[in-house]
Symmetry: C2
Subunit: 266 residues, 2 copies
């Protein structure tokens, strides 16, 4: 997926400034390298209920796309962007400094930290136990095997290491309060690792498959789960990105992409 | 799901004789108790390609519904019905003895055995290593917690024990040849246990969610996988049972229910 449907680029030498949610917020992103945000981040943010109120952490926030999309749609959300890469965190800082984002700035902050830290090191880095109501994550999801480019910054975001979901979800379980929630976006091929990592930590998982078209396999899954729940897993109807209308996106996908709808209708 | 769309009952004192695949084969089933076959078995059988040729084991065959449905649609299939319960195996034997099933009888046999046996005990029971090209299974899928009835025979088929998928899939991995295949039907809530049990044994998993209607969560999943494959998991478009037409079943679901189509189109 690219971000052509979500953003319009204003190019300079080293970065672009891209509009999201039809201009409701903007991102400063590295130009032509690194991980550039698009529909994945918008769909992940859409897993948060519009009525959500509380503290939300965006793990692996990059330039801040998912976190800002939550803040943009959910007026009661206080968002912490958590990013390990100093270079990407700098883009997130530039994003927060944009005049166009001034209306969101008092509800969004930036924490440069590695979400895979554990115990006291994690707490010392600013990720205290049970200090959030919601965690969203868009972990790097290309495996080393299918990585297409040697670009170092892109590699940082796109290489999936062994045990990554275990480490990310372990940290999410530590920082959300009991009955707090997790949402993530991933490839369907990561489902086994994800479900194994949820075990004993999060329950009541709801999975929405994301299909390009009605007759094609899912290219992504959005999963939402509840800390400490013992409820079973649900497999929800898919989100179909492109219908037969000839428009770039189906009405539901377009609404989600532009912050007009939540993924679970809540 | 019930079998009302699939079968018409001819009742006697202790059993019924039910037509499947529009009368292409019949089942002798316990009347009003035990596990009665219906759409679940037909959908499971539909996971086998029409072009399949070779030996297929139906684990937990009951009265033989899934195995006979495979034999009915796949002319190259030789089917072994494997059932632990002597009472249900007797219904399977009566099923095979029916005149109406004479055209399938030379390709279907019955083995009374517990599929969870291991090692020499499994081999001695008739389930030799690498002796099948395909295993289909419809394991008992109600948990003890949501079991609705104390009926002993129904309980035998419907209680899910801890580790059941691990034991059933371990045996399936033992009895299929390299690159042989497994298909199963289960509730979405069993996905975590199923994917954990596949690990290191079966790969290239393809999952089809079964939804009652386009806007409702899946009530079943059909999963197919390949012994020894290292390919990733795919999440396929859902099968929608009921469309907006007012007919009992959507055309695709009706074709699958009646042996006119395979689930994966192969």
């Amino acid at each position: 997926m690219d971000c052509s449907g979500a953003a319009t680029g204003m190019k300079t030498a080293s970065h672009t400034i891209d509009a999201f949610h039809r201009g409701h917020f903007f991102l400063v992103q590295p130009r032509g390298k690194g991980h550039r945000a698009g529909m994945d981040a918008m769909m992940l943010a859409a897993a948060v209920p519009s009525s959500f109120s509380g503290r939300l952490a965006d793990f692996g926030a990059g330039a801040g796309a998912a976190g800002l999309a939550v803040a943009s749609r959910c007026a009661g959300a206080s968002v912490v962007l958590v990013e390990r890469s100093a270079e990407m965190a700098d883009f997130a800082a530039q994003t927060l400094a944009l005049d166009q984002n001034a209306h969101l700035r008092n509800r969004v902050s930036l924490l440069t930290a590695d979400v895979t830290l554990t115990g006291k090191a994690r707490v010392a880095a600013g990720l205290a136990d049970a200090s959030f109501d919601f965690v969203v994550m868009n972990p790097p999801f290309n495996t080393a095997r299918d990585r297409a480019t040697p670009d170092a910054l892109k590699g940082e975001a796109h290489v999936m290491e062994d045990g990554m979901f275990e480490r990310w979800i372990r940290s999410a379980a530590a920082v959300v309060r009991p009955r707090g929630r997790l949402a993530l976006i991933a490839r369907p091929g990561s489902l086994t690792a994800i479900l194994a990592a949820l075990g004993g930590r999060f329950g009541g998982a709801e999975i929405v498959p994301i299909q390009p078209r009605a007759d094609e396999p899912a290219i992504r899954i959005i999963l939402r789960a509840v800390r400490g729940s013992r409820a079973g897993l649900s497999l929800m109807p898919p989100l179909i990105l492109h219908d037969a209308s000839g428009d770039p996106f189906s009405p539901h996908a377009d609404a989600i992409n532009n912050g007009r709808a939540s993924l679970f209708g809540d």
